[in-house]
Amino acid sequence: MMRLELVKRPQRSALFSVLSPFIAFAMTMIAGAIMFALLGVNPFNAFNVYFIQPVSEVWQLHELAIKAAPLILIAVGLSVCYKANIWNIGAEGQFILGGIFGSIVPVLFPDFEGPLVLPLMLLLGMLGGALYAAIPALLKTRFSTNEILTSLMLVYVARLFLDWLVRGPWRDPQGHGFPQTIQFGDSAVLPELMPDAGRANWGFVFALVAAIAIWLMMSRMLKGFEVRVLGSSPRAGRFAGFGFNKMVFFTFLLSGALAGLAGISEVSGAIGQLQPVISPGYGFTAIIVAFLGRLNPLGIVAAGLVLALTYLGGEAVQTALGISDKMAQVFQGMLLFFVLGCDTLIQYRIRLVGFAAPKLEAAPKLEEAR
């Protein structure tokens, strides 16, 4: 019988701060290979189909960007929440509400056209996401209600609300009864970046801009310092004069607005109308992206691209090898597990101890006892 013992490092390990995501990725690959083998597929062949083929042509890179954009946008917002130790896990719902709010213009005022339409849609999308995120924030600050549970419950409500809209009041009367809104007019569609090369739209640019802006805020500005202090030691934060309730609103509104922006960008750019389902779980996958990027906005850009690839790869193995596209979700889940596990190495050394072995060897650790 063996057990693991953690030995605290005196300082965070700089080496493992860098290495940890790579180790996690390698371990996911190994676990994935075992899984493919169990499913009776040659792992090398599967990896080729899963990770290489989906990004071997330029238009495919555009598809990658389309999938990565919402993940990155949502995840940078969530990273601020999680750094502050505030747990918004309802980004999926805020994404949907962003999509709905932004669609008000093209659906209800289809005759309104011109250059103002898109900016208005994007602003409304952010507003919708932020307002929806304000609900758990309000409940948390007013009644100290657990934000994890409330923000999550609101995801189910948002999905049903969208379902009702596209089957009821917003359904396209000429749509042969299909549950969807009218196709958006030209001025309500997010333009593609390089129409000749692929479908990627401005959503990806928004994602990059948001990542850089949030990175600047978190690393250089007093606001970012405030987030980090309140997240790592709330009492020290209060001593510093930073208000926790204000921070709850700030992080929820910020992450909600970014999720809302992702939502309307997706609806306006990639889909072009509202449908009963507008997200393959971006709001949840973004949680994985945020952690895989170690809650660092620049890391999140890389992580978002990796996870977008798991979506494309999941579709690819389904068509090419007949494996369930749920494979994508499994890869994402495993990756997050390994990332969390490897992050332990930053703060601790791990040693294996047999129960019977004498334990008188040197055990360096931080002096904590007085």
Binding site: R3, L4, E5, L6, V7, K8, Y82, W87, I89, L139, F143, S144, T145, N146, I148, L149, T150, L152, M153, L154, Y156, V157, L160, F161, D163, W164, G168, F284, T285, I287, I288, F291, I323, S324, K326, M327, A328, Q329, V330, F331, Q332, G333, M334, L336, F337, L340, G341, D343, T344, Y348, I350, A363, K365, E368, A369
Partner: protein, 324 residues
Amino acid sequence: MDITVNILLTIATAATPLLIAAIGELVVERSGVLNLGVEGMMIMGAVGGFGAGYLTGSPWIGLLAAIIVGALFSLLFAVMTLSLATNQVATGLSLTLLGLGLSGMIGTSFVGQPGGRLPNLDIPGLSSTPVVGKLIFGQDPVFYISIALTAAVMWFLFKTRTGLTLRSIGDSHSSAHALGIKVIRYRYLAVIFGGACAGLAGGHLSLVYTPQWVENMSAGRGWIALALVVFASWRPWRVLAGAYIFGAIWVGQLHVQAINLQDFVNAPWVIYQVIAFIKSFPSQLLSSLPYLATIVVLVLISRNKRLTMMNTPASLGQPFVPDR
């Protein structure tokens, strides 16, 4: 009368998985660990239970498999949070995400297959007693397990020395450690118990409630179970009450959606109007009632700060790494 009995029976069936999962999580949280992976463990139990039942042809083996799968899946969480001291919130979330994905993949070949249902208890003579017969003597076996489990957990937590030790760890793991209590070992056992319960709850879904495999069939019940624990301020009998309230909401909205207004044309005018009024709401609003109700009860219970603070296990969610 028959309608009332039938409604009560369906409420019990809807409440049972919530109750079992919440009782399991209650024990986990009483030990100071927050496992947000209930939804994931539940869905794994559902697919594992259905699969084993389908392959062996025995729903009983299915039920056993559901428990084992839930427990094994929770072990993953235990290793991460207890041995590697990872963030419990993030790890629990990833357990749920992984469970939803893995169950979908495992269950691909089960979709649309007919499954066996666990038979209801049928005691000749007693089960046919008017009114109470079916309610008390004619339900599915998991119902009886859920009630026995609640009573057993109550007894264990508040009447046994081991239960006291478990609660003490939830209150202060560092004090417990200083007294020589094996904090990590207790927590491992608690987490695995919670996983087994969530697995059993999932097995109930796919072997009793709707005896078939449907992707994401847990439909947020794991999260509602988590909310129930908070709502119950970590007391078993309140979990029981909460589970039945939610069972009633769940069943109520389904019944209303299924009702045909035409059947009530001859009913008294008032009843007809009330039903017509309820039916005038979109079905999506009715479907969202359990989730909205969860938010409402969470708000109501959190408003009583003293109650919440007195009962919340003080070390809930805190990672524990002993000095060595």
